[in-house]
Amino acid sequence: MTGDVMTEIPRRDPRREWIARNRLHPDHDRVLAELGQGSAAAIEWMGPHGVMRKNPHAAGFIGPNGLRRIDRSGLQQGGAPSAAARGRQESRRRVEIASPAFLIAVVPEMSGGRLSHHDRDLLGLARQLADADPERPGAVLAVFFGSYKGEGEGEPKERALGEAGIDRLLHLTSDEYDGFAPQARIAALAAAERELSPRHWLLPDSPLGGADLGRRLAVRLDERAATGVWQVEADETCMLGWRCTARGAAGSLDIQRPLPRVALVLAECAEPVSETLHAAEELALNIELPANLARIEDLGQVAVDPGSVSLGEAEFILSAGNGVSDWDGFHHAARCLRATEGASRVAVDNGFMPRDRQVGATGTWVTARVYVAVGISGAIQHLQGIQSCEKVVAINSDPGCDMVKRADLAVIADASEVLAALVDLVESRRSQANRGESRDAA
């Protein structure tokens, strides 16, 4: 009868609505069915005052004890929403800034090749600065160094970065930027400054590299950076229109000052972007690195005894719980994987692990990037301690336990067998790699 386009405009038939409300009307069932557009009976329709009306008699199902049950989760609703409405729900509001009035440059630290929470907060702040004046919106430019390990390449990458609030992207992947290469990175950022001259440079004030790079950039651009910034407010009297509050004197002072061009920002300075989707359009920039950079040379990371790293700052933890019976095998696996050892409270209480290795509410809150839980059920006290872990792997024989629900990868098998297989695998790959190397050298 009417096309989908027509149904978008609410057309009301008061008589039909009245019949739909009157259960005793002889035409009641027929009218309900018509309102329901195909399903047995209408559950929801637009009432005379523009309020959604629901028919509780048609909704729900008969439960096991003969009573009608209504599931209000929205899962069971009849009358499927129109395609346009569904589209609106799924995607965020798309924002394209074709000709930005200015740029806000952000250099996320991308630890592990992904946007960290700190990076997302920073991008949220950059959006605040860029979107302050709706008449003249600015664009957020992100400069990345090194490879991106997030949600794949191409479309998903663009989408993930767009969701974080990035309009323009400068992705620099050349080898010169790998490792500790402040001179090359600063040269690249200085080139971006020359070509694009962003209004602000925002960097995370974090020991993962942002703090160092940001200070180098500030002195190169001859700007007096604000460091440890944790609050930014609009203020007309300041030169660039913003005032910031920064921590000074080892965190014991708050300094209020106009926001300078370069700011090093603490985590949780702003809410991350959650409602809009930006273009994340890739820019190309011709960067000529000065040839003679080699005053600092990076000889690579040094093997550190993982046991000497404190649990709170370890990057990779292999953690044992009550499901571990072969303790020698577990210690051997930790050595072989070069992981720091952790434990659940039960493992500690039973005397298999020292107290300073306990993870959880009454132990250590860990920040590992990868946490492997072996035979740990995932009690809430334990899960609290691993809240900020990025990837959790569970090895457990019980598929229903909470750790498996939390885990990004769960292997349902006997812990000692999986660990033994893992050790074999790592050792065989290592010896292969060694053989390959010695062949190359020969």
């Binding site: 014991s252 300094i255 629900k405 098998a413």
Partner: protein, 268 residues
């Protein structure tokens, strides 16, 4: 001139610290670690000369702090006279440029004042020297090249070489400073050096106040229905779409775990 006849010269920049609880002046923690690192170079080098510099003024308040450094086994400390509120970077850069040492060691940030940690960077830029931050150990110095260990987050270390002269900055990861001995601290001399003072105008326009506690981040729940709000409030660890491998052999499981560890780059 024979290269070995001149001692290896290290300059250490020291500031006056502030005890976090009592607020009393003390040796700044990072700077004292820097001095410890410089004094420790005598293990690698036969002839070492450590010169320590403090830009500021000497009064009853910071006497104990400055003497604290002297008590680590120094004969003298050079005081680059600067009034309060002066920008110390030009003065320090001048002093260092006049008699350039091979190595400058600084702390990573001061414990009073702006404490932005920009001083080593600004000096490096002015002098045109390379800067390495977060140094924990100088492994060797050979033919004008120093091999260093740099602290990375998560207790990791990285080995670097840097061509001298260079600036090294030291943070809390470096070895702790030795105790300060009272006798040498009293005997040590404070030599003062007059330098032109440039008042930091910008600083006078800022307002300083004791640090406020930062507001706790609220969990913002964007729920459209009562049920979603309830679920968000009573949230328990939920399956974040994780992959579950059941009915697999241990080898297959190990393979999957290995793949994830490799992707994350934690296997070394």
């Amino acid at each position: 001139m024979q290269p070995d006849s001149r001692p290896f010269e290290v300059a250490v920049l020291l500031s006056v610290g502030r005890h976090p609880l009592t607020g009393r002046a003390r040796r700044a923690d990072h700077d004292a670690r820097g001095l410890e690192l410089a004094l420790g170079l005598s293990r690698n080098l036969d002839r070492l000369q450590v010169r320590v510099l403090h830009a500021g003024h000497h009064d009853a308040d910071n006497d104990a702090a400055l003497r604290g450094y002297l008590g680590m086994g120094l004969e003298a400390l050079t005081l680059v006279e600067q009034p309060a509120g002066a920008d110390v970077i030009p003065a320090l850069a001048d002093v260092l440029a006049m008699a350039p040492p091979q190595l400058v060691v600084t702390g990573s940030r001061a414990e009073c004042g702006e404490g932005s940690g920009l001083v080593p960077y600004a000096l490096a830029e002015r002098l045109g020297w390379p800067l390495v931050n977060g140094v924990v150990e100088v492994e060797s110095i050979d033919k004008g090249v120093a091999t260093l260990l740099q602290a990375l987050p998560r207790g990791q270390r990285r080995r670097l070489t840097v061509r001298l002269p260079a600036i090294l900055s030291v943070d809390a990861a470096a070895p702790a400073a030795r105790q300060s001995a009272f006798g040498p601290a009293q005997r040590g001399a404070l030599d003062s050096l007059q330098e032109v003072a440039i008042i930091d105008e910008e600083l006078t326009e800022w307002t300083f106040s004791p640090a406020r506690r930062r507001p706790k981040r609220l969990k913002i729940i964007k729920a459209t229905s009562a049920r979603e709000r309830f679920k968000a409030a009573a949230a328990k660890a939920e399956g974040g779409g994780g992959q579950v491998l059941s009915n697999v052999t241990p080898e297959q499981g190990a393979e999957a775990v290995y793949k994830l560890l490799e992707e994350e780059g934690v296997l070394r």
